[in-house]
Symmetry: C2
Subunit: 317 residues, 2 copies
């Protein structure tokens, strides 16, 4: 069964939801949005392609969730409150059941954060999902990559490495807990928003913890030391792989969408309180130092060399 582009758009529009600041949503040439005078606009775009960004067997709902989640994670890393998004869908053929499943996942996450889907388009082509997410942040309070200072603590939320382990174990059926971390990442919106005013710099962990911390270092003109023994590990990860592989996943695995941030030592109590309030793990994993680059220190004190740094869509592993 196929249906035309206009029907598809109607299908999406009927479920898109709205907010008071959406002057005009789907159905005109563009969306019309009201930005409060004391807020700055935060904008990010990410595309997910078939064969690259999700497993072959991922359900439409998981693909929908993840395509929004990776964008919300960028807003979280800026300390922004999500507000609106647009969706560009390229599909090999029009398939209402697929669209409905996709929207189930996409809108479940959108609803959780009160985001309105305000525009987009549908075109024919290989499966590809491009989302632009827009958020708002108090003027001057955005979390940036360039604010890290020598002496800062380095922190990470949650348990990095799970998503990469799930991907590596796909053929051998990872546990449900690991697989959920790959398919349904939880953007750390509340944490990011609460950290605005506490953290000096932040980034979301999409390419891998050391690589993303490296982006903070480059932009801030500093170096970092990370103690691998401090990296938090989920029970699921500990049960799935040996210690050597675990460290590699934790330090270099992408796709977790946790936050890595730096904060002064004076903020430790506030961060502990935040962890309680949000019921989310915050782990101090290292410090910002003078110099450049990220040094990963193994348990015995030697510098650890990762098997591969980060994730590059155009490199052959």
């Amino acid at each position: 069964m196929t249906t035309g582009e206009f029907d598809l758009i109607a299908r999406i529009r009927a479920r898109a939801g709205t907010r008071g600041d959406v002057v005009l949503g789907i159905g005109d040439d563009a969306a019309l949005l009201a930005v409060p005078a004391d807020r700055q606009l935060v904008v990010t775009t990410d595309t997910l392609n078939h064969g690259v960004h999700f497993p072959e067997d991922a359900s439409p709902a998981d693909i929908g969730w993840k395509s929004l989640a990776v964008n919300l994670s960028d807003l979280a890393a800026m300390g922004a409150q999500p507000a609106w998004c647009t969706l560009s869908l390229s599909l090999p053929q029009s398939d209402p059941a697929w669209i409905d499943g996709f929207l189930d996942g996409f809108l479940a996450l959108a609803g959780r954060h009160g985001i309105a889907l305000v525009g987009g388009d549908t075109t024919r082509g290989p499966l590809s999902i491009s989302v632009t997410a827009m958020g708002l942040v108090e003027a001057g309070r955005a979390l940036r990559r360039d604010g890290a200072r020598v002496g800062d603590d380095v922190w990470v939320t949650g348990t990095p490495g799970d998503a990469a382990a799930a991907l590596a174990l796909l053929d051998t059926q990872p546990t449900h807990a690991l697989r959920a971390r790959l398919d349904r990442p939880m953007p750390r919106i509340e944490a990011g928003h609460a950290l605005a005013g506490i953290a000096h710099a932040a980034v979301d962990v999409s390419d891998g913890l050391l690589a993303d911390l490296g982006h903070i270092c480059t932009r801030s003109g500093v170096g970092a030391q990370v103690e691998l023994a401090q990296l938090p590990a989920s029970e699921a990860l500990q049960g799935a792989v040996d210690a050597e592989a675990r460290v590699a996943f934790q330090a270099t695995g992408g796709d977790d969408y946790e936050l890595c941030f730096t904060a002064p030592g004076t903020a430790r109590e506030r961060i502990a309180a935040l962890a309680d309030a949000l019921d989310l793990r915050f782990t101090r994993i290292g410090r910002i130092v003078a110099g450049e680059g990220v040094q990963a220190i193994a348990a015995h004190g030697a510098t650890w060399q990762p098997p591969r740094h980060g994730y590059d869509h155009f490199s052959t592993p």
Copy 2:
């Protein structure tokens, strides 16, 4: 020659340009933008896919131009001033020469309208370009599709039909003038902005004149009559096809990115002055009537039936 994603992004970033209201552009998790207090935000997204939205032999620069133009055309139809854009590029392989050519076209149009490229991503996949364009409009002055009133004149800018004729004649080498209209559409930004406060409703002609005017009618709860004899034709179109084909291209051909709008009869002098000021053709082609749907009237007074209405990415012609 290939290069990695980070190099590609650096290549794009080096050429992206900026504006005073870009607090933070490419290089962080998201862009940070300052929206003036008296402006509303206008947002649109469009994707161009290989094999669907541009001819096989289109140059990278033409693809770059067009991928931004189709989005700016949506902003024009809202009466907005373009401000910022993001770019998601999916490429089969990293090809610096292709990217440079693409940016030549993309940034030539961006520069013409003072737009800053503030973010985006590059991923591996079949060639696909997704652009989100953001603009600003004085609060309450946006042009919408739902404002047409019975008695309004119906107008169109430029000469619709050229791009569709060029596409139809691709195999027989259309003239340069026709081909340029397909490859390098000119979004009617200045016209759209000037029409805010004059026009009652507007739409950009992407699906075909009658189909897009139909969107105005549906949203406004009115009908329209269009006199086909009044449709403006370029010399290039007149020289390329016979009268019957010409009318079909003018009335139903997509991809011209002209503006179709409605305005009260009292606005005719101001619109004539605008045509002079912008050196752009504005043609009165019909009127808004009570009822629903668009009636196309042939020279002899009979209702004309188009060979096919609009353009649907998921229908077989």
